[in-house]
């Protein structure tokens, strides 16, 4: 018997959901509010209604070049995502459709690298980057971000590919499709939504990655994460400006996330329910 859902239940659940969402979103919201305050207002204390001044934005844009780190962020996140997909698609494909006894172990082993604290390999990575001349270079950082997110990309794609029933591929084979036709007409169209949502999630992860992007760059390859952190130390007390820089850094990804939320939710919950 289905559980009875009363109006009161619905109201309580909705209020609770909104409350949780607001608590999670509040720091971002307050950053945006603060960015529209003057420095005096920002320091004065907690206040939800700003004076709507764009003074901080003008200063941030005037004093520092926003465009360069923004472009770096785009290049690094999109570049590392494409590189990761290039490696992960065949890898996940092989593991999903021709699994061996060790497939699960390989997957676990890949994921286990995500359990290691990044700081544990900071020195070796720094020295390798220094010796290879990759410090503060977009290429070095793209490779780094690819490696960081590769386990998640492989796992997500593996889960997607596993959901494609083997019988459909067999049906295509019976229908006379060659391996190439099978990939072009059957597999790829079925896998595109999975690849797309993996791509979106990976762009967001790469965009937000702050540990390595801050430590391995100075000016040339510095993305928006480094841009924000460059505001936090020398201008530590200028909260309005810091907020304006942060808002500028998160705005692109927030907008992208907003438009692609359907895809993302589907990507993250895929395989959970049939």
């Amino acid at each position: 018997m289905a559980r009875k859902v009363t109006t009161r239940h619905k109201v309580v659940a909705t209020v609770a959901a909104w409350a949780v969402a607001l608590i999670i979103f509040f720091p971002i919201l307050y950053t945006i509010i603060t960015s529209f305050k003057s420095e005096t207002e920002a320091i004065a204390g907690f206040k939800l209604i700003p004076s709507f001044t764009t003074e901080s934005y003008r200063e941030v844009q005037g004093q520092y070049n926003y465009f360069k780190p923004f472009m770096n962020s785009v290049i690094l996140s999109v570049g590392s995502t494409l590189l990761a997909l290039l490696i992960a698609v065949p890898a996940a494909w092989a593991m999903a459709f021709s699994p061996t006894k060790r497939t699960k172990d390989v997957l676990m082993w890949m994921l286990s690298t995500k359990m290691m604290p990044a700081v544990a390999v900071l020195f070796p990575m720094y020295i390798i980057f220094r010796d290879l001349g990759l410090l503060d270079s977009r290429i070095g950082l793209t490779v780094m971000l690819t490696m960081i997110n590769l386990p998640i990309v492989v796992w997500m794609l593996y889960t997607y590919f596993r959901e494609i029933p083997g019988e459909i591929l067999e049906a295509a084979r019976m229908d006379g499709a060659s391996l190439w036709n099978e990939i072009v007409y059957v597999l790829t169209p079925m896998a595109v939504p999975g690849i797309a949502s993996t791509m979106l999630l990976n762009i967001i992860l790469a965009w937000n990655e702050a540990f390595w992007t801050i430590r391995l760059t100075t000016t040339e390859a510095a993305p928006l994460t480094a841009f924000i952190s460059s505001f936090s130390s020398p201008q530590g007390l200028f909260w309005a400006k810091l907020s304006a820089a942060s808002t500028l850094a998160i705005a692109p990804i927030l907008i992208m996330g907003w438009f692609s939320q359907k895809q993302l939710v589907r990507g993250l919950t895929f395989g959970a329910v049939k």
Partner: protein, 332 residues
Amino acid sequence: MGKITLKNVSKSFGATNIIPDIDLVIEDGEFVVFVGPSGCGKSTLLRLIAGLEDTSGGTIEIDGRDVTSEAPAKRKLAMVFQSYALYPHMTVAKNIAFPLKMAGEDQATIDRKVKAAAATLNLTNYLERRPGQLSGGQRQRVAIGRAIVRQPSAFLFDEPLSNLDAALRGTMRLEITELHQQLKTTMIYVTHDQVEAMTMADKIVVLNAGNIEQVGSPMELYKAPKNLFVAGFIGSPKMNLVTGTAAAKHNATTIGIRPEHLRVSTTAGEWKATVGVAEHLGSDTFLHVNSEVGPLTVRADGEISVTHGDEIWLTPDAAKLHRFDTDGKAIR
């Protein structure tokens, strides 16, 4: 043409021997049903014929041509899967057209053949829909449509009706039989449901643990099962099997008597029994009784008025009695 010959075909998965050694001839135009319990190797045998699995030994010939190591597509067979295996991102029309497209047919021919197949299967109004927007029966018809457009030398069906509800299963059973009469193409049909086997087949192949127990027409299998396995598997309700002195009286280790071959009387007979459950189906009544020779199932007249606890007498029809030896083989 679609004569399929299996010679000493075997299949092992690692150390597990699924099919030890099978010889079988399927004549052109025949409707052959592979039937057996779960895990008996019937689906594996079908997949071997389809080319979706490689044989471990033996040869498979289609119309005299050795196809043992040929790719599935080259065998000119069409298969209907249990899960329908439709392409979810294509419309019904595109699903049906897919094998034609793969064969490189021109668009005009494809359109004509798709229309014809859709008309045969009552799918004309659904051609622009996706599989997700169809009911189970319609999906099954699309899968059949995709199979018939290719004009294959034989159709392979892998438990195609097991995902449908009972009523629809009956309708689809009839449709597939009619399709066979219309096309007169060889059909191999795998099922664990002996009712499907009995009603559809020209020839039934009963499989058990990868071995063929018996091959024959439905009535041959029903009237003269070669062994206890076939006797117990074919027929619904199942044949009653009796051992002990009652069997010894007929010079057998086990005797088998079908539920409809037991005469019921309230006054006298060979075996005394107490009615456990009486299932009144209208046309028939199935009596599940506890008799002096063990539990038995009896198919009685629909009008019979006996209920739980009633004492009755049963007499087996001696002419319809099946006798089996210690190895379970039929004594003729």
